[in-house]
């Protein structure tokens, strides 16, 4: 990582704060999921993410991205098929999978440090080691001074950074990020992306980043998967060349960007050329 404009706001985590368990592969096999109303979200869906991979999952709103993340986190059960993290099947939430939601979802009665400590595994909570880890995580997300602030005293970006620290607290082997940076300002977003990259690279954590922002995906992910249709199917699945974080005009991204946009919104292809959108 060379310092440059795209490192703006980046804060390298304290070395001790990096989770060190290594990643796990994630596998979805013939997964079917349907909510009580409407057409199935997934009808025999397959996806394989390798250990330590950083995958960006793109798709239009309502295409099933969030459902996919919730299935892997164990918050939803598939109607049929298997979700595996490592060798084991997912039957409910487990310690080694961390999830960060679209909104911070901090517990309003706990201060920032308490919220991060909430994410610690049971054996670490309340110990000196846990205390130290909370301190390091808060420094890693750039909020060393905020430990005793309550959620309502935090700005949106600060709250989301505390939420990231909470998700990292149990040193997850798989980190699921469900459109986590949509509501924060551009500078903070860049900083948080760099932070996730740094932590994930160091610990070889498997990361699944759900986003609808093609630029975000091309900047940080090693692989881009675009979902489309209902039931959802993979419309594009491709590696991204080069080391993240990438500049938007890095070599080879232009072609990928066109492919991703085309897969995201096939309708745009049919827009008459005189609107200037035909080629995107």
């Amino acid at each position: 990582m060379s310092p440059g404009p795209y490192d703006a706001g980046a804060r390298a985590p304290a070395p001790e704060a990096s989770p060190g368990r290594g990643g796990q592969p994630v596998r979805l096999e013939r997964v079917r999921k349907r909510y009580s109303t409407g057409r199935p979200v997934f009808g025999g869906f397959d996806l394989e993410v390798e250990a330590g991979e950083m995958v960006a999952l793109l798709g239009a709103s309502g295409c099933g991205k969030s459902t996919l993340v919730r299935l892997i986190a164990g918050l939803e059960a598939p109607d049929a098929g298997v979700v595996r993290v490592g060798e084991r099947c997912v039957h409910g939430p487990v310690d080694r999978v961390g999830l960060m939601f679209q909104e911070p979802r901090l517990l309003p009665w706990l201060d920032a440090a308490g919220n991060v400590a909430f994410g610690l595994s049971d054996d670490l909570r309340g110990t000196a080691g846990g205390e130290l880890r909370v301190r390091q995580l808060l420094s890693a997300v750039g909020l060393p001074e905020a430990r005793s602030l309550l959620p309502h005293q935090l700005s949106g970006g600060m709250a989301q950074r505390v939420a990231l620290a909470r998700a990292l607290a149990r040193a997850p082997e798989v980190l699921l990020l469900d459109e986590p940076f949509g509501a924060v300002d551009a500078l903070t977003r860049t900083g948080l992306q760099n932070l996730v990259l740094a932590v994930a690279t160091r610990a070889r954590t498997t990361v699944l980043l759900v986003t609808h922002d093609v630029e975000e995906a091309l900047r940080v992910a090693g692989r881009v998967v675009v979902l489309g249709g209902r039931p959802a199917a993979v419309a594009l699945d491709t590696e991204v060349p080069g080391q993240p974080p990438r500049s938007p005009d890095a070599r080879g991204l232009g072609q990928l960007r066109r492919q991703a946009l085309a897969a995201l919104a096939p309708d745009l292809e049919t827009v008459p050329a005189q609107f200037g959108l035909g080629g995107v």
Partner: protein, 275 residues
């Protein structure tokens, strides 16, 4: 005093706007009305003599009666009886109310089994319980304690159950994501999240407990402030009646302050809680 307009997130300005610009006088504002009433009372009784002492005694007369009651040791058993009944009855009602509300809030099955019945029982007016409790439990302490407990139970139950039902599902999901279930989920997510409603219920329950206490003591007691009140009526002593009413007001206020103190400690995190 922070007027906090330029402060960052978290400056404490309520929706009623910026605090008074002269904070030096604000402490006196709650005392304005009581002092005014006291002056009016004194003028009406001692100066203008609109009321005779048998109708409305003067504040000085009431104070004299109070001192006599204290010095003669007559007041203490009444006070002790009432306070004791409140403490025991309220504790029982509040604990039961919180416990049942938690159970009903966490289990749909229990909710369907219990809630409709409890909501129906709630509609029974306090005084309607008295003859029935006397019939079943005799005229000892027990029926009074039960009545106070009933009084405390319903506000606590209703508010706590509503609070628990309305806990933000997204926070529950955070709990589930961290492997919490059942009792641990209740302790670490549900109860803290429902604490504002629960404490509202505890405060309302306390008020209702005093109401039911006086109802019990008016009808069937030989001690207690409610008995002192009815005793004053029977012996045509308005000063006794005013003394008991004033003591009930004072004790009720003190108890309420105590619960408010707890509320302030537990709900310091809440953005809305800025009394």
């Amino acid at each position: 005093m922070s007027t906090g307009v330029t402060g960052t997130a978290g400056s404490a300005v309520g929706w009623r706007g910026v605090a008074s610009r002269r904070p030096s006088l604000r402490w006196a504002e709650p005392w304005f009305l009581p002092v005014l009433l006291l002056v009016a009372w004194t003028v009406a009784t001692s100066v203008l003599k609109w009321f005779g002492p048998s109708q409305l005694p003067s504040p000085a007369q009431v104070l004299r009666t109070l001192r006599e009651l204290i010095v003669s040791g007559e007041l203490e058993p009444h006070l002790a009886a009432s306070v004791g009944r409140i403490v025991v009855g309220y504790a029982a009602g509040a604990v039961l109310g919180t416990g049942l509300a938690t159970a009903v809030g966490l289990s749909r099955t229990l909710e369907r089994l219990l809630d409709p019945t409890l909501q129906a029982l709630r509609a029974i007016p306090s005084l309607a319980w008295v003859p029935f409790l006397l019939l079943w439990l005799g005229i000892g302490e027990l029926p009074k304690l039960v009545l106070v407990a009933i009084g405390a139970f319903f506000p606590v139950y209703v508010n706590a159950a509503a609070g628990i039902r309305n806990v933000d599902r997204r926070l529950l999901e955070v709990g589930r994501l961290h492997g919490l279930k059942g009792a641990r989920l209740a302790r670490r997510i549900v109860l803290p999240a429902a604490a504002p409603s629960l404490l509202t219920g505890l405060r309302l329950g306390l008020g209702q407990a005093w109401l039911f206490l006086v109802a019990a003591e008016l009808i069937a007691a030989s001690r207690g402030l409610g008995f002192l009140l009815i005793d004053g009526q029977n012996s045509a002593r308005a000063d006794l009646m005013v003394v008991s009413i004033a003591l009930l007001a004072l004790l009720g206020k003190l108890a309420d302050q105590a619960v408010r103190g707890v509320e302030r400690r537990l709900l310091g995190w809440s953005d809305a809680f800025r009394a």
